[in-house]
Symmetry: C2
Subunit: 337 residues, 2 copies
């Protein structure tokens, strides 16, 4: 035969499955000696060479996805991108793709890393996280015709439905709306929101979900009085909740833009008020408060689907997060007849 022999050819010649050929190569001890011998004979006879670097030079595909790993972030929501990385690695492995990690000190440095990785055929696609308005990384990858998907919508680009690159994001607005509606359905009305200072795309979207739900319930009059903001720490969440409670003595619940802020509210209120956080961190589970889960498994699945996507397939996915209700949530009100 003129082309190079494959695992499939070896399997056919030896009368075994491809998995058995792989086992003979990688874990011969688990293969019966006579089968092992037969497979080895076929490998030798066909001249099969299982060498990925050689394969890579032929196909120019490394089956590897590059992703930047940032220094560990402190704070209880710092592990969100790690959770995504776990989900991505697992799902990628299941379809034969591997994840290569690198670091970068700035977007410009990340672009240099892209260059090195492409140059070396080390990866054949990228996943970008923490995208931002005017991100030079996406421009560079588009100009250099690289395959990539962002976890994060193209902030600042008007038409999200005609994006210049595929992206997956979580619909934070829908998540906070669900959380607020869940409290409204249980008969609460004075539901405060503790968010981040204005101007962050993600934070403004989450606040928007609370505004949507309150307005739809006819409670849009009082929204200024019912909201507070702080940076993303437990102490800021505690202080913001204190200000809110001083202004609204009959406050009935708090919805927060993150589990850090929510934990601050929980610590201050000693569980007197229902609090809903965002990110469904292990802390929310440990402390028993409800929280919005980003469904990072869905995000990872979307990223891989878009990386493999045909040119005419949908180019983005907005994942709807899921409210996880815990013990501190008020009991459900039975439906009226």
């Amino acid at each position: 035969m003129s082309r190079l022999p494959t695992v499939h050819d070896v399997a056919l010649a030896a009368g075994v499955s491809r998995q058995t050929v792989s086992n003979v190569l990688n874990a011969p001890d688990i293969v019966r000696p006579d089968t092992r011998e037969r497979v080895r004979e076929a490998i030798e006879r066909l001249g099969y060479r299982p060498h990925a670097s050689a394969r890579r030079l032929r196909t120019q595909k490394s089956s590897t996805i590059g992703i930047r790993l940032d220094p560990m972030v402190d704070g209880i929501s710092g592990s969100i991108l790690d959770r995504f990385l776990h989900a991505l690695t697992e799902q990628a492995d299941a379809v034969g793709l591997r994840i290569l990690l690198f670091t970068a000190t700035s977007p410009e440095d990340e672009i240099r890393q892209f260059g090195r990785l492409i140059d070396g055929s080390d990866v054949d696609a990228f996943v970008l996280t923490s995208t931002f308005h005017g991100d030079p990384r996406t421009e560079w990858l588009i100009e250099h015709a690289q395959r990539f998907v962002t976890f994060g919508r193209p902030w600042g680009i008007d038409d999200m439905n005609d994006p210049r690159h595929p992206w997956v994001d979580v619909d934070g607005r829908a998540g906070v709306r669900d959380a607020t509606e869940s409290l409204l359905r249980r008969g609460l009305q004075r539901i405060g929101f503790v968010g981040w200072p204005g101007g962050s795309g993600t934070g403004d979207e989450r606040r928007g979900g609370w505004v949507d739900a309150m307005q739809a319930a006819g409670l849009g009059e009082d929204l200024d009085r019912l909201q507070e903001a702080g940076v993303d720490t437990v102490a800021a969440g505690r202080d913001a909740t204190s200000r809110l409670a001083a202004r609204v003595p009959d406050l009935e619940a708090v919805v927060a833009a993150s589990d850090s802020l929510a934990l601050g509210a929980v610590v201050r209120e000693q569980a007197a008020l229902p609090v809903v956080g965002f990110d469904n961190t292990p802390v929310s589970a440990a402390m028993g408060f409800s929280s919005v889960d980003q469904r990072l498994g869905e995000v990872a699945e979307g990223v891989l689907a878009l990386l493999e996507g045909a040119p005419d397939a949908p180019r983005h996915r907005l994942v709807t997060p899921e409210l996880v209700i815990r013990s501190s949530h008020p009991p459900a009100v039975p439906d009226e007849p």
Copy 2:
């Protein structure tokens, strides 16, 4: 020249630094046009081909370290291996090594993954985590003459000083001893320990540190009454602390084997007792209790040093963790004259 040209040859020919050559290849926009032209001319004249797969076939080195990434673990200490991964990726990148992630469903499956990665020259070294007594992975890697370091001592092997493979671990016993001594120095005596059920190497070592400190302080009589155990959850920590407090009404402090157990003690005691955890998770920082930090940056540094180590260099490193003292710690007692 008979050998293939290198970046160094290009740099010499163009009269620039190797960094500039790399910039021309990877981020040409940041290089002055005349310099760029000169470097490109040199690249063409010498026939330099910056292709990692080709290089890899020549050198059989991929400069890549393989490490298994497990599904995300719930619980507030679940991020410890992620923290290690961040530190390892950063320090590896600084010396030109990359991290390749894979998954495995069992030790046997991990061994098959080793085989595939070696077979494909995808990696040239492994880092193993979560080692255990009789671990078949280390046996396999030794038999197949692979370069690897474990994060975790070779449990069950008598002579830790003459290990069959290099390893790095954290001295949990020293960490808990420090935590206990810190409370003893502040005048406390009835210091309880909340640990895991006996039989886990890591857990028994941590308990041993508390026993060491209490015995050295002449408080070895009462140790059975002062200890409780539970599985690694906040609820188990709360219940174990309840049992301990019921039996020892004048309990003065709690040292716990993990931040999960410590958080349970903190939640139960509402900050009435000083509590020291283990792992220095973001939760300990958020809730303001002291905790023992594993110094995973040191662990990562040790792993890389041992991977590169000469045959006669030390073959293991036991990293001493560091007690991080927070607001709930009792105030220091001034030294007596």
